[in-house]
C-alpha cells in the first residue's frame, strides 16, 4: 500500500495497523524490514529548523506503485507498505516509512533497500529547507544509499 500524508504520522503505529489488518498472511511472514527516514535538525553542516516537501500529485503515487511492483517481481514478498510525508515538516518528524514482509530475511532486507533507493531516485518529491536566519534553500540532490561509509572504507584500507 502507498500513502502520501500531509499530516504527521507514527511509522510504528502504521506498521502495526497494517500488519494487523493483513490477516491473510498472519503466520506466514518470518521477516519484516522497516526503514524510517526522519528529519534531522542539521544538514550539510547547517542547522535546519524545518522543511517543506513538495510532490507531484498523481505521478508520485504512480512511481511509488511501480517501485513496489518491481520489488515484488524481484523478491519473494508477502506485502509492502510505503508512507511518505508532504508539506511542512519539523525536525525529528518522520518523512518516509518503507516496510516489507517476507518469509525470509534476505528478501526482506534486499527488497526494503531496493524500494528505498528507487524512491530516493525516482519518486517526485522535493525538499526545501528552512534555515535559522529565515532563508530557504532547495536540497539539490539525494546521495547514493549504497555508498559505503567513509569509516568502513578507512577500516578496509587500514586493515
Amino acid at each position: 500500500m502507498i500513502k502520501i500524508s500531509a499530516d504527521l504520522f507514527d511509522p510504528w503505529h502504521e506498521v502495526v495497523a497494517y500488519q494487523d489488518s493483513a490477516k491473510h498472511w498472519t503466520g506466514k511472514f518470518g521477516a519484516t524490514n522497516v526503514f524510517v527516514g526522519t528529519m534531522r535538525d542539521f544538514n550539510d553542516g547547517d542547522a535546519v529548523t524545518g522543511m517543506v516537501l513538495e510532490h507531484y500529485p498523481g505521478m508520485t503515487e504512480k512511481q511509488l506503485e511501480d517501485i513496489v511492483k518491481q520489488a515484488t517481481r524481484d523478491w519473494h514478498l508477502l506485502d509492502a507498505l510505503v508512507v511518505h510525508r508532504v508539506g511542512e515538516i519539523k525536525p525529528n518528524e518522520p518523512i518516509v516509512l518503507v516496510a516489507v514482509w517476507a518469509s525470509h530475511r534476505g528478501d526482506a532486507f534486499d527488497a526494503g533497500r531496493q524500494i528505498m533507493e528507487a524512491l530516493k531516485n525516482k519518486a517526485p518529491f522535493w525538499k526545501k529547507e528552512r534555515l535559522p536566519n529565515g532563508d530557504e534553500r532547495w536540497v539539490e540532490h539525494n546521495t547514493d544509499g549504497y555508498l559505503r561509509s567513509p569509516k568502513n572504507d578507512m577500516s578496509t584500507i587500514l586493515g
Binding site: K62, K122, W138
Partner: protein, 79 residues
Amino acid sequence: MIMSVKVRYFASLKDSVGRSDDMVDVNGAVTVAEIWAMANANRLMPDNILAAVNMEYVDIEHSVQNGDEVAFFPPVTGG
C-alpha cells in the same frame, strides 16, 4: 492538427521559470525538448532536468501527443 499540451514545473524549476504551468498549442509532431523551447523562449533547458509525460519519465526526445501533460523538474530529493 493543432494540439494542446499542458506543461508543468516543480520545485526549484518552478521558482526559476516563475510559473507552475503553461498551456502550449502546437501544430504537428513535437518532442518534449521542443515543448520546453516553445514555453521558455529565452531560457535554455537546464542540464540536469527531468521530464515526464503523463506522469511517466521520458527522454527529452520523446514525442508529445494531443492532450498530454508534460512535466519538468529538478532531481528528486524525497525520502
